[in-house]
């Protein structure tokens, strides 16, 4: 923890993310208005003391919508990465521990998944399912586990040859004990970096999908669909595009900085392993 704060990259990222998380968590208390309350007489007001970030085409307070939208965007990021990390760890551990044909099958699956442009895969899947937060989280999770799988597999390949793992095998340990007690705890450091970076891309993906109308559905706010609402008025209501854009930028930047910082801390040699 101390090291984390001595690394300027990691510290900046940590501060930015904490700020976003606190704002999102405290949304119900911080928001001055109901985010979905339509006020026809207050349409497209520019930022003022009453409406910090102005109002949108239906007279809803943008600041309130940003706060609640942040909850959705960050939640989608966390859950999607949670799903992809879980899949990645399980498949990577199986491939790296058992090797042989199991490894071959899993790694070819990874290659196949990586060869498909993920954004279009997600678009196609969402087009068949109904667009909803749950579906977006699941689909992003199911299409971004390949990096973690490769990382965990590589760690397991080298860990299973380490002497402390052999020692445990020599004592008569069962596979699950070696996997969970010896290999997994020692392979999670690089996974942490990839999780943090993964959240950034998941937030970005969700915003993109919502912008295209395939993600979070109105009236529920997310940064992506606030942007969509704003694009019709972009010539005279700049605040509708600027603020959600900034929020996405800061969040993605924060996670990326934290991820890069953590990577520097854990392994000064690595440059880019994703």
């Amino acid at each position: 923890m101390k090291q984390l704060f001595s690394n300027p990259l990691a510290l900046t990222g940590f501060v930015l993310i904490s700020l976003m998380l606190v704002l999102a968590l405290l949304a119900p208390w911080l928001a001055p208005y109901d985010p979905d309350a339509i006020q026809v007489k207050d349409i497209l007001l520019s930022p003022s003391a009453n409406h910090w970030m102005g109002t949108d085409g239906l007279g809803r307070d943008v600041w309130s919508r940003m706060l609640f939208g942040g909850r959705i965007s960050l939640l989608v990021g966390l859950v999607a990465v949670g799903i992809s990390t879980a899949i990645g760890i399980i498949l990577g551990a199986i491939a790296g521990y058992y090797r042989g044909w199991v490894d071959t099958v899993i790694m070819r699956l990874v290659d196949i998944m990586l060869s498909i442009p993920s954004f279009f895969l997600i678009l196609a899947v969402i087009a068949f399912l109904s667009p909803s937060i749950t579906n977006v989280m699941i689909v992003i999770g199911l299409t971004s586990w390949m990096g973690v799988t490769r990382l965990v597999r590589a760690e397991f390949l080298s860990l299973t040859q380490r002497e402390f793992v052999l020692a445990s095998a020599a004592l008569g340990a069962r596979d699950w004990r070696i996997i969970f007690k010896h290999c997994l705890p020692n392979s999670l450091t690089p996974v942490l970096v990839s999780v943090v970076l993964g959240i950034a891309s998941a937030v970005l993906l969700e915003s993109g999908l919502s912008f295209l109308g395939l993600g979070v559905q109105a009236p529920q706010a997310s940064w992506g669909n606030i942007l969509t609402d704003g694009k019709e008025y972009i010539q005279f209501a700049w605040w509708l595009s600027l603020f959600p854009g900034l929020a996405i930028l800061i969040t993605v930047l924060g996670y990326n900085l934290l991820g890069e910082g953590l990577r520097e801390l854990f392994d000064p040699r690595s440059t880019n392993s994703r």
């Binding site: 402390f164 020692a167 445990s168 020599a170 004592l171 008569g172």
Partner: protein
């Protein structure tokens, strides 16, 4: 009861390596080439050879940590290599290993107490309380303190870590311990302490050692019998006195001459 704790007959292990253009050709490397050995109960057999001579492959093959191509291993009158999973798990209680690198052989994320107790936990020996007592007892036996139990491996020196490794191997009270270069990563002064400890534990617990090393200086302190390996083959075998005083093979003589201060004596003799 046979007085042989371990017998190995005609062990063979080959590695194949891709080579040549596009890796289409295959080179076969014979890591173990028809290796046989016998170890008497309560004694120490040293396996000596330079790196790449197949010593570590032999150790791992005997432990079934590495599949062998052919051969037979009789451990305590049981065919060790043909045991099924269940029988093997049970037999592993009696045959343990001490590793070379004291920094790689302990899980950095486990406490010392946990590391040493692992064998007891795996085989379900005793309840948590008894296990803790045994760990404390073992820690003291290998020259560490009972208070060291909650510490992590990085808080110890190389020699102390090797003691932890020994404690882990001995907690199940095995009959045979395979020591794979247990002192070659240590300072000379620490080497002597660890050798002394191994020797002392051997008498106390009636252990048999298969002691793998590249250093003939170490052998004289610990071994009863010596087996010299070169390129996967056993080239000379005999008692310590015979090997030291009347080495038959040129390779053995070279190894002996490599010992600092030894060359002169051989030359004079």
């Amino acid at each position: 009861m046979s007085d042989l704790i371990l017998q190995a007959h005609h062990l063979v292990k080959t590695y194949s390596q891709h080579s040549g253009t596009l890796g289409l050709q295959k080179t076969r490397i014979r890591a173990l080439d028809d290796v046989s050995l016998q170890l008497k109960r309560g004694t120490t057999l040293a396996v000596v050879g330079e790196s790449g001579s197949g010593k570590s492959t032999l150790a791992r093959g005997l432990m079934r940590l590495l599949p062998l191509d052919s051969g037979q291993v009789i451990f305590d009158q049981q065919d060790f290599l043909s045991m099924d999973k269940q029988a093997l798990r049970h037999a592993r209680k009696h045959i343990q290993m001490v590793f070379q690198d004291p920094f790689a052989s302990l899980n950095p994320r486990m406490r010392i107490g946990e590391i040493i107790a692992e064998g007891l936990v795996i085989h379900g020996v005793g309840n948590a309380r008894q296990q803790r007592d045994q760990v404390m007892h073992m820690l003291e036996k290998v020259g560490l303190k009972a208070e060291d139990s909650p510490k992590f491996p990085h808080q110890f020196s190389g020699g102390q870590r090797q003691r932890i490794g020994i404690a882990r191997a001995l907690i199940l009270q095995p009959k045979l311990v395979i020591c794979d270069e247990p002192v070659s990563a240590l300072d000379v002064s620490v080497q002597a302490q660890i050798l002394l400890l191994l020797k002392q534990l051997q008498t106390e617990m009636g252990l048999s050692y298969l002691f793998i090393t590249h250093d003939l200086r170490v052998v004289r302190h610990i071994a009863d019998e010596v087996m010299v390996m070169q390129k996967g083959k056993v080239i000379e075998q005999g008692s310590v006195e015979n090997i030291y005083n009347a080495p038959q093979e040129i390779y053995t003589q070279q190894l002996l001459n490599a010992i600092p201060g030894h060359a002169k004596r051989v030359a004079i003799a």
